[in-house]
C-alpha cells in the first residue's frame, strides 16, 4: 500500500451530510469519522438511513449537502468507480460475485492480468490470478483447498471472504459493508467477524451496518446510531451497553 494512513489517523470524515429523495429526508446533517485501523458500526431501525449514508460515501448517491473528506481532503465521487479508485470499496449484501468463476477470476474481474503465450499471443494470466487468490485469502487467514473451483461451490461466509479479499487485493483502505453477516449461519458469522478483525489489524478502516448487536459488540470500536436520518448518538463500544444502544435506536 503506497500511502497507508498510520493507525489512529483520520481516514474518512463525513461532515453535516444530508440527502433527500424529493420530500423524504433520508439523511439529516450527519457527521461521523473513521480512523485507520478502526471499525465503526452503523446501527438504527429500518429506514433510519444507514444504507443511504454508505451509498453517499461510496459514490452511488450524490449528497444534497455537506462534505466528505478523505485523508483530510474534500472529495466528491460521481460514481462508485471513482470512490473505488480512491480506495473506498463497498461490499454489497448480494456480494457481486460471478458465481461461475474462480476466486482469482472474481478478484480480477474487469481488470484481468494478461500474459503472452508463445511470445506473442495475449492470454489471461490464470496462474497470476490463482496466486493472488491464494496469497490474498491467506492474508485473511482463509485457506481454500480448490482455487480453481467456481465460487458457487463455497459457503456464504467463504463467499463473503472472497468479496472482502477482492477489496483487500485492490488495496482498499476503507471497506464498507452493508449487513455482511445478515444471510449467514452462526459459525459463518463468526468467520466474517474474524475477517473484520483482520482488516482492522491491517490498518484499514471499516464501516459496517448491522442489526445484530452481538456482532457489533464483538468487533466494532465505535457505534454510530441513526434515527430517522439523524445521528441519534455515538459511543465507544467499551463505554456502552446493549441497553443504551437500543434506547438510542428507538428514541426516548
Amino acid at each position: 500500500m503506497s500511502d497507508m494512513t498510520p493507525i489512529g489517523q483520520p481516514l474518512l470524515e463525513v461532515r453535516h451530510l444530508s440527502k433527500n429523495f424529493g420530500p423524504v429526508q433520508a439523511l439529516n446533517d450527519l457527521t461521523m469519522m473513521v480512523r485507520a485501523g478502526e471499525v465503526v458500526a452503523l446501527a438504527g431501525d429500518n429506514g433510519a438511513g444507514k444504507t443511504t449514508l454508505i451509498k453517499a460515501i461510496s459514490g452511488v448517491y450524490q449528497p444534497s449537502s455537506g462534505e466528505i473528506l478523505l485523508k483530510g481532503k474534500p472529495v466528491a465521487f460521481a460514481s462508485p468507480q471513482e470512490a473505488r479508485d480512491q480506495g473506498i470499496e463497498t461490499i454489497y449484501q448480494d456480494l457481486a460475485l460471478a458465481d461461475n468463476l474462480s476466486i482469482g477470476a472474481n478478484i480480477f474481474l474487469g481488470r484481468e492480468p494478461m500474459r503472452r503465450k508463445y511470445g506473442f499471443l495475449p492470454v489471461l494470466d490464470r496462474a497470476k490470478m490463482a496466486e493472488a487468490a491464494k496469497t490474498t485469502m491467506a492474508l485473511l487467514d482463509f485457506h481454500v483447498s480448490r482455487l480453481d473451483a467456481p465460487v458457487s461451490n463455497f459457503s456464504g461466509g467463504q463467499r463473503q471472504a472472497v468479496a472482502i479479499g477482492r477489496a483487500v487485493y485492490w488495496n482498499a483502505q476503507i471497506l464498507i459493508m452493508d449487513e455482511p453477516t445478515a444471510a449467514l449461519g452462526v459459525p459463518e458469522q463468526r468467520k466474517v467477524i474474524q475477517l473484520i478483525h483482520q482488516l482492522k489489524a491491517q490498518g484499514r478502516g471499516v464501516i459496517f451496518i448491522s442489526h445484530n448487536l452481538q456482532d457489533i459488540f464483538a468487533v466494532a470500536d465505535r457505534i454510530v446510531v441513526l434515527r430517522r436520518g439523524v445521528q441519534a448518538g455515538e459511543r465507544k463500544i467499551s463505554e456502552t451497553t446493549h441497553d443504551e444502544v437500543v434506547k438510542l435506536m428507538v428514541g426516548g
Partner: protein
C-alpha cells in the same frame, strides 16, 4: 499486493475437512456432466459401428468417406453454434443467425458474380466473402443495439431481426437461388488439400480462434461473468453495453462466414440456406453443456454437440432409417442434456468456465 504481511490470528477460515469429501464427489459429477456431449458422441458412434458391422459387415467409423461426410455436414451448424455459444453464455440467444447466414450467402453470390469480370476469380472471391461477412455484421449491430441499449429481451429482438434478415435475403435473391459463376469459389467449397476439404480446415481454424476468444481473453471472461451475474460485472467496471454490442456483431459475423462457405459449397446463394440450422445450432450448444440460463458452456462442448447432431443425422441415413427419426433422436438428446444440466444445478449452485 503491497500490504505488509500480517501475522495470522487463530485459524478462522479453513474449509472443514468433511466438506472435502462431498466436494470431490461433486467435482466428479461436474466433470462427467461437462463431458456429457462427448459421452453421447462416443455412444452414438459405438452404436452405429455395431449396427454397421452386424447388418452390413462393414465399418461405420473407420470409413473415411463417412467421417468426411459427417464433418462437411457439421460445418455450417457448427459455425452458427460457436457464435451461439457466446450469446447463450451471456444469457441471451440469437434467433436471427439462420437468416443472417442466408443473407450472407446471397450477398456473397451477388458480389462475387459482379466482381469476377473486373477482378478475376481469386480476388472476386476474397472481396465477395469479406463484403458478405461485413454485411452480416449489420443485423448483428442492430441486434446488439436492441439488446444492449434499448434493453429489448434477446429472444424478442433477434426474433424481429430473424424476420427482417429473412425478408431482405429473399428480396436480394429475387425469391430464388443465386448461382455463382466462379471456379475458384466452387473449388473453395469442394476442393481438398491432402484429402481434407478446405471448408473443414477453415472451420477448424475458426473454431480454434473462437475457443481462444472465449477461454483466454478478457472478452470471453467478461462474457461468462455477465451471463452469471450482470450486476456483479457492472460493479466490477465492465462495460456491459459495449460488450453486448460486440457480442451480437460476433454472432452475426459467424453466421456470415457460414453463409459464405455454404455459397461456396453449392456455388449458389440461397436465402433459406440457414433456416433449418438455427435450431440445430442452439441444440448443439445445449447438448454441449451450456445452460440457457447463461454463465456456462464451452466451445469444445459445442463442437461435441454439433457432432452429436451430425452423427445422428448422417448415421440414421447410413443405416437406412426413415429420416424423420432424426428429429426424434435429436429431440431426445436435447431433453436428456437439459435434464442433466438441471440435475447438476441442484447439486451445485453453478458451474465452471472453460
Amino acid at each position: 499486493m503491497t500490504s505488509p504481511p500480517i501475522p495470522h490470528h487463530a485459524a478462522t477460515g479453513h474449509v472443514a475437512p468433511q466438506a472435502d469429501h462431498a466436494d470431490k464427489a461433486r467435482t466428479l459429477l461436474q466433470r462427467i456432466a461437462d463431458l456429457r456431449a462427448w459421452l453421447f458422441l462416443a455412444f452414438l458412434i459405438l452404436g452405429f459401428e455395431l449396427w454397421s458391422r452386424i447388418s452390413f459387415g462393414g465399418t461405420f467409423l473407420f470409413n473415411p468417406f463417412n467421417i468426411q461426410s459427417i464433418a462437411v455436414f457439421a460445418v455450417a451448424p457448427l459455425l452458427l453454434a460457436t457464435g451461439q455459444t457466446f450469446v447463450i453464455i451471456s444469457g441471451g440467444i440469437d434467433l436471427s443467425m439462420g437468416f443472417i447466414m442466408g443473407l450472407a450467402a446471397v450477398v456473397a453470390a451477388h458480389v462475387i458474380n459482379w466482381a469476377t469480370p473486373g477482378m478475376g476469380f481469386g480476388l472476386a472471391v476474397l472481396f465477395g466473402s469479406v463484403v458478405a461477412v461485413l454485411v452480416a455484421a449489420i443485423p448483428g449491430i442492430v441486434n446488439g443495439m436492441l439488446v444492449a441499449l434499448l434493453k429489448v429481451p434477446p429472444f424478442i429482438g433477434t426474433l424481429g431481426m430473424f424476420g427482417v434478415a429473412r425478408g431482405v435475403a429473399f428480396l436480394l435473391a429475387g425469391g430464388t437461388t443465386v448461382p455463382v459463376k466462379n471456379e475458384v469459389f466452387s473449388a473453395l467449397g469442394n476442393g481438398k488439400i491432402y484429402g481434407v476439404p478446405y471448408i473443414i480446415l477453415v472451420t477448424a481454424v475458426f473454431v480454434l480462434i473462437m475457443r481462444y476468444l472465449l477461454g483466454q481473453t478478457k472478452f470471453g471472461q467478461h462474457n461468462y461473468a455477465i451471463g452469471a451475474n450482470a450486476q456483479a460485472a457492472r460493479r466490477a467496471g465492465i462495460n456491459i453495453k459495449w460488450h453486448l454490442l460486440r457480442l451480437y456483431i460476433l454472432s452475426g459475423m459467424c453466421a456470415g462466414l457460414a453463409g459464405v462457405l455454404y455459397a461456396a459449397r453449392f456455388s449458389a446463394g440461397a436465402a433459406q440456406a440457414g433456416e433449418p440450422l438455427l435450431l440445430d445450432s442452439v441444440a448443439a450448444v445445449v447438448i454441449g453443456g451450456a445452460s440457457l440460463f447463461g454463465g456456462s458452456g464451452t466451445i469444445l462442448g459445442t463442437v461435441a454437440g454439433a457432432f452429436v447432431i451430425a452423427v445422428i443425422q448422417y448415421g440414421l441415413v447410413f443405416i437406412n432409417v426413415a429420416p424423420f427419426w432424426q428429429f426424434i433422436s435429436v429431440g431426445v438428446v436435447i431433453i436428456i442434456s437439459v435434464l442433466i444440466d438441471q440435475a447438476q444445478r441442484r447439486f451445485s449452485g453453478g458451474r465452471q468456465s472453460e
